[in-house]
Symmetry: C2
Subunit: 258 residues, 2 copies
């Protein structure tokens, strides 16, 4: 560190230094960083300067504060969510999110928060075409990769489609998951649609997904159709910095071009 | 305002009050807000408290500081980007982004920043399968809705495909745009793929898109294929709070379900 640097460039430089140490393996993935005091001593800067540097890296998700562990280096890779493949894979026996996580050689796990009859949010009721007061089955779960939360998924199925299907009330709905059971009951999924927005997390999402207030989430409103009838809406809230979403499709107009 | 409130809830309450005034039309879309001093006087709170409240609304994009105008109420609706439709619409005569903007009854405009032969970023060169040092045509533009910047789009086409096609060097590439010209030259687009990530804007993107440092952007890496050969990569950087991305597809597995 030379003496001409302003305070602004000083903490940005320290952030860069920590980045280089992460890249070169001095601080490997998952490792606990030295305390702010120790870094300040070693680098001969003030503790607030170190703190500001670490805030930058926390905002981008390069490091993360884990309760009881301290500040650790990011250990998860970017997880690819291939929309077509994830739902096509459902007959392989695992949930779609679990398939994605496993594909990256990470250990996946799912915690169910709620499986119950409920009044869905207005936006969901509208998509499902529910009458006023009509209920839905809610299956709410959190998906983890190597123990770190990466997604909240709240799935809503019209109660009139779900009530005769006991497997839908279980965490493990059986082969092919919920869609398998809906198909058994005469409602095979034939089409999907997804709307993607980005926003800051709510307080609850921030706690559940272990995010900073400054870290955005993807929200995917996923709709499954049986012919033209919507039979499920699943709201996915996903840690923005951990995911890459992938879509592909054939171009219907290329005959016109050539 | 009662006297028991803490300072934290005070500025959050003022943010809510401004929100209600936006919702009820006291401050209509596009209107300039009263100055912080006037709001502080009217609401009998300190100016820093008003400032903190307005920062909340700036971060969510509910209000925006426009140079020379002051702080204005958001006037753009959420713009729907329907991936399949946007490219299918290209033979209608306008650019894909312009079609989306117009569909929302907004005035669209496009400013070209650069049309030139260039060395593409490594990530782009890799997708296009370019040899070391191989060049590409860059078409870089900013899309506006009612005069507000909403998207930067940098399109890269391998130079060997572009060099014989003079229309690709023009802002208006003619009917069907760049894809029309590539098709004329024997490279019809037959498939698209898109990867979506979310991140904070760079300094340049922040200035160009009139964002706060705290407002995330979508980055879409759009790839056009002619049969199995990638012939274009377009990097879209889009104001996160103004867009909703839409994808839909038929489910290939439903025969197995039923």
């Amino acid at each position: 560190m030379t003496t001409i640097e302003t305070s602004r460039s000083q903490y940005a430089q320290i952030a860069d230094l920590v980045r280089r140490r992460i890249a070169d393996g001095t601080y490997p993935a998952g490792a606990v960083l030295p305390s702010e005091d120790r870094l300040a001593d070693e680098l001969r800067v003030s503790r607030p300067t170190v703190n500001k540097a670490l805030v930058i890296l926390r905002n981008t998700g390069e490091i993360k504060v884990r309760r009881g562990a301290g500040t650790v280096v990011r250990s998860l890779p970017t997880i690819l969510r291939d929309a077509k493949k994830r739902y096509a894979a459902r007959n392989e026996g695992s949930g779609a999110g679990e398939v994605e996580v496993s594909r990256h050689a990470l250990k996946s796990s799912t915690t169910y928060r709620e499986i119950s009859q409920t009044t869905p949010p207005m936006s969901v009721a509208e998509i499902l075409g529910l009458a006023e007061g009509e209920q839905a089955l809610l299956r709410s779960r959190v998906l983890y990769a190597n123990g770190e939360p990466i997604q909240i998924a709240d799935s809503y199925i019209p109660w009139r489609l779900a009530e005769g299907v006991p497997d839908l009330m279980r965490e493990n709905a059986g082969r092919g998951g919920s869609y398998g059971r809906l198909a058994d009951a005469g409602n095979p999924v034939t089409r999907f649609a997804e709307d993607i927005t980005v926003r800051m997390p709510t307080d609850d999402e921030q706690r559940t997904l272990e995010l900073e207030t400054t870290q955005p989430v993807f929200e995917i409103c996923h709709v499954a159709y049986s012919q033209d009838r919507p039979i499920e809406v699943c709201l996915h809230v996903m840690t923005g910095h951990l995911w890459k979403l992938h879509y592909e499709w054939d171009d219907p107009t290329h005959e016109q071009d050539s």
